[in-house]
Symmetry: C2
Subunit: 240 residues, 2 copies
Amino acid sequence: MPDIHNSLVSVSIFKNCDESTINNLARDAAVHQHPKGKVLFIHGEEAKHFYFIKTGWVKLFRETLDGSQAVVDILPKGHIFGETSIFEDCIYPYSAEVVQDSEIITIPLRNLKTEIETNNKLALNMLGSMARYRRRQDREIEHRTIQNASQRIGCFLLRLTDQHAQGEITLHLPYDKTLLASRLGMQPETFSRALSKLRDKTGIEIQGSTIKMDSIHQLTDYSCAVCSSEFPCKDLEAAE
Amino acid sequence: MPDIHNSLVSVSIFKNCDESTINNLARDAAVHQHPKGKVLFIHGEEAKHFYFIKTGWVKLFRETLDGSQAVVDILPKGHIFGETSIFEDCIYPYSAEVVQDSEIITIPLRNLKTEIETNNKLALNMLGSMARYRRRQDREIEHRTIQNASQRIGCFLLRLTDQHAQGEITLHLPYDKTLLASRLGMQPETFSRALSKLRDKTGIEIQGSTIKMDSIHQLTDYSCAVCSSEFPCKDLEAAE
DNA sequence: ATATAACATTGACCAAAATCAATTTTCAAT
DNA sequence: ATTGAAAATTGATTTTGGTCAATGTTATAT
């Protein structure tokens, strides 16, 4: 219980909320261990809970009857998901699958709904979070429109690093390449070739899932020219 | 003034709000006539106002230094835009251009911000609106991932019609084909060819910007198979 | 240490859409 | 009615990414 409480206070939409708010949510919450591959819910299902990722990764996606899949997002620990269902007639707008063994906190949507209807601070926090997400999706659409596969990978890598870092940078892909490919809206084969092309164009070094570069500018020169935001990405300065 | 008031009461985020709320917004608002081509603001600029489209059409977009453009949305009369800036440090997240001679109401963001900080009903309405928009962007990303150009046009046409209509349907493209192409994330040439292909595949009739079909199923069979939502699109039932 | 399965890469080929260029059509202004 | 500009179409070609198949690599469970 104090465990759940501590997890929730770190969530941006609960920032500066009263203890009682968090307690009302934590009261009926539960922690579960989920193995990789576990599907938590399917889009279109009735939404009973929202979720907090304590550890691990979760993929949000939608798929068609013939099996084509579109990845909406891949979330790391510290994020919540499913909470927007309270504004969608309590229907999940996407499916959620655990992509690494994860500890997930399950919280009844009912509690959130009750709370938000009287708690303006919470509503405003949530509006801020939604606005950030909206901007994020707009960027995604923009990038898929005007960036090619290699530039999109370059941009993803950039957003993974501290953009004010000086000198040599080493970074690690957060999850496997097949998943990353789907996150970027391309096939694994295309990802593989596009990453090689990015290496050739920018001089970054690739060793499995480790990427090294002498300077961040190797990537910015290549990827940020085809983006409507100037480097460094200012949305990363603010937290989520 | 009563004119502005009447316009605002029809906006979904003001539904069921007190008269005083609307009055506080309308008080400092103004109506302007804008010619086609007029740019109202550029992304990154400081946001002072949000806007209501009384008549006409407005394109929301972002562009890179080299002139590539990504269309975020194209809004008809009755919609507001720019209002989310209050959650983005008062910076416009996109640019806005009038694409048909339009009557636009300009409202200070300050008024909205003051109001929303104390008016939970307004905040909840806005959350609902943001959730719908979010779902809409997710669908956009999905469609660009798994639908080809012709299917995307078919889906756009479907969403333009009453999806419960029986029998013969006639519809008109809401704006010119070049703009529609950019809205769907493709080049005008691709649009032209893809529309011809759609005609060949489905048997719809095309005459300039008028489209005729014997039954809506000519389109659904072709486009809805590659979508994660079942037909009819349930998000259209709810208003915005 | 080895077997196995999942992940990743590579090659050959194909399909879709972008690009460039040339017309043709449409529509508004005179 | 005529002209001119913008929009739309069409053709030829290139680029990009997808698909299918084979092979290589890595990590994990036994």
